[in-house]
Amino acid sequence: MKILVCMKQVPQKDAPLKLNESGTWIRDDVSYEVNEPDAFALEEALRQKEKHTGEVVVITAGPARSQQVLREGLAKGADRAIHLEDNGFVGLDAFNMAKAFVAAIKDEKFDLIFTGLQSDDYGYAQTGVIMAELLGWPHATIIMEIQKSDSGIKVKRELESGFFQHVSMPLPAVLTIQSGINKLRYATLLGIKQAKNKPLRKVTMEEVKSALGDNLQKIEKLYVPQKTKKTEMLEGSPGEIAKKLVDKLRNDVRVI
């Protein structure tokens, strides 16, 4: 199976984020990491390849710094990488991001495309599904298991309230992968070394520009959300905080 994994670089979970001067995006002097569901998507692709042979290709879009997620993917076992390298990709809406990816892989023949189920920054949860529609492929979302079958694949979708569902579908297809579908591997030293010699194709904005249009939705303003609830912050040494909390538990929450 030939699998493409769409990966995204997002700010680290604990990184303190600051707004830029115009209040339209964050300042980019933060530490970044691989979007967590994308890491699970990569792991699942590697496992499928180990079971059924094939090729795993990782793709991302963003400025030079975002190459790091591809390097990590290659170090873990992906065969090659595609980097849509331009700062302009960061500001695309999901529709145009999907169009850019589709344009970048127009000469490839994948059986499966994986994305994480959503990103930690925009949180659209849409790019994979949009890619499927642009390619004319079927899709399934929030996937917890993938089995190859005679006619294609059988996947396990996560539904709400603890329910799951099996879905049979033909290939090629797009799947959005849920966190926790597998256990992530670490890159080995050998893997990191080998990654340096694996092919990485760069795609410029110029190459895919004709496929893109204006954004269909626009972020007018980014801001720190207004508090809807008044939070009383408790301070002091651990012992003092414990005493204050017990006082709240007894007199306000009334559970002691």
Binding site: P16, D120, G123, A125, G162, K229, E232, L234, A242
Partner: protein
Amino acid sequence: MADTILVIVEQREGKLNRVSMETIAAAQAIAAETGATVEASLFGSGIAGLAPEIAAKKLAKVTVIDSPKLAKYEPDGVVAALKDFINQRKPSLVLMPHTYQVRDFAPQLATALQRTLISDAIGFRKDGDKLVFTRQMFQGKFAADVSFACPAPHFVTFQAGAFRGDKAEAGASAAPVETITANIADGVVRNQPEDPFKEAKQAVDLTQAEIIVSVGRGIKEQKNIELAKALADALGGEIAASRPICDSGWLPMDRQIGSSGQTVSPKLYLAVGISGAIQHIVGMKGSRSIIAINKDAEAPIFEIADFGVVGNLFDILPALTEEVKKAKG
């Protein structure tokens, strides 16, 4: 002619998803400011019996889109049916609840119509002639005002809890109900879904717990969960966790709170080392009291906490457990 807002109501296995009432409330709130007419539609097979409950709300019309091909949910048939219906009705705005089912088909539907979906919105405001929608970004650390930059129809999904379902206004008389048959051509549907199932019987029903001590990533290692368990025991409560903890196998899946786990509203929800990602918040924001302990003062969990402590949970938890034991004598 006034603009039409179309609410797509969700039913699963012949049962109305209550969150749809929130979407109707959202549509009515928008209509109150824009003067639009609100209609609702639902799709499925043999589900006309669900229409009267929806038609009791203040709506101009309810359309039941019926086809045997829509009996079991899968996205292709739904998109084909809704695309036809939207092309014919020409609503300016299409509203849906941000459920797992909607997440599965709505981006496909918007794309099939060369349009876009503003997903997981939590509010709206009118800015001149334009509607601006608020959605959370960076896991709730920021909010963004987002607007459409394309012609109608505009698609928006609303997060569960963003509007109150019980505020959906009833109509003076029942709205007219029309049932139409969706024309879904053979070969359109590619996926073959099976019946939904539950993995194992849920061993723990956290929805009944009065006190929940819940742990997140900040707990760092599996063995540290004992610190939170000790506190839960001292308080006479249950231990629970955010998704990453259960994904790691540190606590069983049936202890998970959030959109993919259980939704709880205990007297006390004590969040330990939980940053408060949206997917977690939707599972516990209805709690009567929320106490949050986190090392990061910027963590979104503090947005909804009644009492907050910024500090090292490894120092605070043992001290608190001791103090609770003392207080309970």
